[in-house]
Amino acid sequence: MRPGLALTWRRIPERYTLKGNKCTNCSTNYFPPRKICPKCRRHGKIETLYYNGKGKVYAYSEITAPPVGFELEIPYVLALVELEEGPKLTAQIVDCKPADVKIGSRVHVVFRKIQQDGEEGLIHYGYKFKLVK
C-alpha cells in the first residue's frame, strides 16, 4: 500500500523525532505511541516521551527479496532495534556493510528518506539507524 498524504502528515512527529509515550501508572514506555496502555487500559496515564535515539540491535536480516517500493534498495539490512528506554522498533540499519551488523551492535538514529510514491510522488521520510563507531 502507498501511504496517503494525510497518514504521512499525522505520523510526522513520531517518525521525524521518535516521539512516543509512556504510561506513568505502570512505568511502561511505548514506541510507536499508544492511545491506551495495554496493561492498565482505562487506568493508565499516557504522557509524551521523546526517545534519545540510541539503542542496540536485537535481531537483523539482510533482505534480498524486496516489497514494492524497495526494489532499488536491495540488499538492505532491516533490524529490530531495542531502544535504551526499553521499547523495540523495526528500522533499517544504513551506511555500513551488512556483515558489520551484529546482535548487540550499538546504533543511533538518523533521519532518512524511507520511500517515494513513484517518480513525482510524495517522498516519505523517517528514521533509520547507523552503527555507533
Partner: protein, 386 residues
C-alpha cells in the same frame, strides 16, 4: 453447546494454476466437500469463507456473496472471514460456533486465495498487510524478514541451525510427494535448501512456503445428525483462538508464539487431552522456523528442542508424531485464505484412514494449527474420529 462434526471435505489441486480463476477453485473445492458429505445443497443454511487479500490480489471484495451466488446457494447467508493467513482457521471456528450454538444446522466452511495474477513483489506487499503497515512494512519489512528475526533469536538462544530448519522443508516435501493435491510433488535434499537463494538472511527460498492458488472446503453439522449421513464423522472436540501484538517488535520473546501457546492450552483443556494424545497434526509452517516454533509451542517438544527433533526424524510420517502429512504450507502450498481449511481437510482424511501413501498409522486424534501474520492470530482445533 451442541457437538459438531465434519461430514464432508474437499480441496482443489494446489499450485500455480494459470488456467483457473478464484471462483473456479472454490467451486471445485466446495462441490467436492458437498458431494463427499452426500447432502443436497438445499440443506445448507450457512457459509463462512476465509480469504485474506482478494481485494489486493484480484480486485474482488464481497467474497461471501460472490461464492454463494456462483455455488448456486442463494439466499443462504454467506460471510467472508479475514485474519491474514489464519483466515481459513478462523472461518472454521466461526462455522463451528454457528453449528455448536444451534444458530445453523449445516454449514459450509471454505477457504480460497488466488495469488498468481500479480507479480511476486505485489504478493509480498499484499501479505505484508498481515503485519503492522505503519510501523513494520513502511520501514521495508517483509514476512520473510520478520520470521528471519525469530529464526536468528532461536538460533542464538537454543543452538538451532540452518541445517535443522532445512530438515523441515525436506520432510514436508517428502510428505507432499505422496499428496496428489500438493503444489510440489518432488523430494528435495538438505543441500537443495542450504544452497538456495537467500531471501532474508538466514532464510532462503526453500525455507519459505510458496505463492499458491487453491481452495478447500468442509461441511459441518451437529454430531447427532452427522451419523445419518456418514459412518465416519470426524468430531471437532476443541476450537480455540488467541490474539497477540500485530507487530513483532512489541513481543517480549521472539522464540515462541504466545498466541499459539494460549490457544493450544485452551484447546487441550476443552478436549481434556494432552499433546501426547495427538497422532497427526497440521501446523503452520509458513517458514521452516515457524514449524519448529509450532511443535514447541503446541507442547509436542520442549522449548528449544524442535529443530533437533525434526533433524532426528521425530516429526516424520509415522514417527513420534506425524507433522504436516499433507506436505504443510511448504510442500502442499500456501494459498493463504485456504490454508486453515486445507489443514482440516487433511486431518479429516487422516482420521478416516483416507491418507493413501501418506496415511499416519493409528490416527485417532488430530490437531490443526493456523497462524495469522507473525503470530497475532493463532487458531487451534482438535478433531477425533468416531
Amino acid at each position: 453447546m451442541r457437538r459438531v462434526a465434519i461430514v464432508g471435505a474437499g480441496m482443489s489441486r494446489f499450485g500455480e494454476d494459470w488456467n483457473r480463476g478464484f471462483r473456479d477453485m472454490i467451486i471445485d473445492a466446495g462441490t467436492s466437500a458437498i458431494t463427499d458429505a452426500n447432502i443436497s445443497g438445499d440443506k445448507i443454511d450457512g457459509m463462512f469463507i476465509g480469504t485474506m487479500a482478494a481485494g489486493r490480489l484480484i480486485g474482488q471484495e464481497h467474497i461471501g456473496a460472490l461464492i454463494a451466488d456462483f455455488m448456486g446457494l442463494n439466499p443462504v447467508p454467506s460471510t467472508r472471514v479475514e485474519a491474514a493467513c489464519a483466515s481459513g482457521g478462523v472461518a472454521l471456528r466461526q462455522g463451528f460456533m454457528a453449528v455448536a450454538s444451534g444458530m445453523h444446522d449445516t454449514v459450509v466452511v471454505g477457504g480460497v486465495e488466488k495469488m498468481t495474477e500479480v507479480s511476486t513483489s505485489e504478493v509480498a506487499t499484499a501479505l505484508g498487510g498481515a503485519g503492522d503497515q505503519e510501523w513494520e512494512l513502511f520501514m521495508g519489512a517483509t514476512f520473510p524478514a520478520l520470521y528471519a528475526f525469530m529464526a536468528q533469536r532461536h538460533m542464538l538462544d537454543y543452538g538451532t541451525t540452518e541445517e535443522m530448519m532445512a530438515h523441515v522443508a525436506v520432510k514436508n516435501h517428502k510428505n507432499a510427494s505422496k499428496n496428489k493435491y500438493a503444489q510440489y510433488q518432488n523430494e528435495i535434499t538438505v543441500d537443495h535448501v542450504l544452497k538456495s537463494k537467500t531471501i532474508a538472511s538466514p532464510l532462503k527460498v526453500f525455507d519459505c512456503s510458496p505463492i499458491t492458488d487453491g481452495a478447500a472446503a468442509v461441511v459441518l453439522m451437529p454430531y447427532e445428525k452427522a451419523l445419518s449421513f456418514t459412518k465416519k464423522p470426524v468430531e471437532i472436540i476443541a476450537s480455540a483462538q488467541a490474539s497477540d501484538t500485530i507487530a513483532l517488535h512489541d513481543r517480549e520473546s521472539l522464540t515462541k508464539l504466545k498466541a499459539t501457546e494460549i490457544a493450544a492450552q485452551s484447546a487441550f483443556k476443552q478436549a481434556k487431552l494432552a499433546p501426547r494424545d495427538i497422532q497427526v497434526a497440521e501446523v503452520h509452517d509458513c517458514f521452516t522456523i515457524a514449524e519448529i516454533l509450532a511443535i514447541e509451542d503446541l507442547g509436542f517438544f520442549k522449548k528449544g528442542e524442535g529443530g533437533k527433533a525434526t533433524m532426528e526424524g521425530l516429526t516424520a510420517l509415522n514417527s513420534q508424531i506425524s507433522i504436516n502429512t499433507s506436505g504443510g504450507l511448504k510442500g502442499c502450498g500456501h494459498p493463504v485464505g485456504a490454508t486453515g481449511v486445507k489443514q482440516a481437510v487433511e486431518i479429516t482424511w487422516q482420521l478416516r484412514g483416507q491418507g493413501g501413501e501418506r496415511q499416519a498409522k493409528n490416527a485417532n486424534i488430530g490437531l490443526t494449527h493456523n497462524v495469522g501474520g507473525s503470530g497475532a492470530t493463532c487458531v487451534v482445533h482438535i478433531m477425533k474420529k468416531e
